[in-house]
Amino acid sequence: MATRVITIIGFAALILALFVLEYLGRRQDTRIPTLSEWLGYVMRPWAGRLLILLGWLWLGWHYFSR
């Protein structure tokens, strides 16, 4: 039981961290980018763009097709 709870808390903490980063990124005068800016930067090279879009497609397949 304890291990399951630890696993769930781990996921929750990481997802919460993503929201906190997004919040911090939206403040004025911050070095932290928003998720949108971060993805835009990752997608500057052609390979990064392909990788992110394939990841999006995989996410849809994984959660909605299976």
């Binding site: 769930i8 990481l14 980018p33 949108s36 800016e37 993805l39 835009g40 999006w56 909605f64």
Partner: protein, 149 residues
């Protein structure tokens, strides 16, 4: 007479003969129609049975449509930042890699009850039809947002 254009923002130059980017839809009626189509599609897609051909098609069709748009006639993109702070970039990278690692460690353990994967935790939430339809709608909209980035 020449106009002073030093301060004016410049649009990126297109090669001669290239098609203009897909214009952004601004008309409220057109927006509403597109939203209605997406909602209807999501509702229909949420009703497909997993592991069937239809369930595969409801994912492949939007993927194909977006690929054609992204490659054939991409929309006007939101310009990405030229530079990014290394620390700021790393925060996101670390969180996303850690999330994947946590998920991968669950898969490595074959997603046992005591170490479930994120998929095992989310799948029951996607059970009700409206919730799954909403999730598919978010997925579709995020795909379009990615093409615009």
């Amino acid at each position: 007479m020449l106009m002073a254009t030093d301060g004016a923002p410049r649009r990126p130059r297109r090669p001669p003969g290239a098609r203009p980017p897909l214009a952004r839809i601004r008309h409220p009626v057109a927006k509403t129609v597109i939203l209605a189509v997406l909602v209807a599609y999501s509702w229909f897609a949420a009703g497909t049975v997993p592991f069937t051909r239809n369930a595969l098609l409801i994912v492949l069709v939007p993927g194909l449509v977006l690929a054609v748009i992204a490659y054939g006639r991409p929309p006007e993109r939101i310009p990405p930042p030229d530079r990014m702070d290394v620390a700021g970039f790393s925060y996101w990278a670390i969180c996303i890699i850690a999330l994947f690692e946590w998920e991968a460690s669950a898969f490595r353990d074959n997603a046992l009850w005591w170490h479930p994967s994120l998929t095992d935790l989310i799948d029951p939430m996607l059970g009700p039809h409206p919730v799954k339809a909403a999730a598919i709608l978010i997925w579709l909209v995020s795909g379009w947002a990615l093409v615009r980035r």
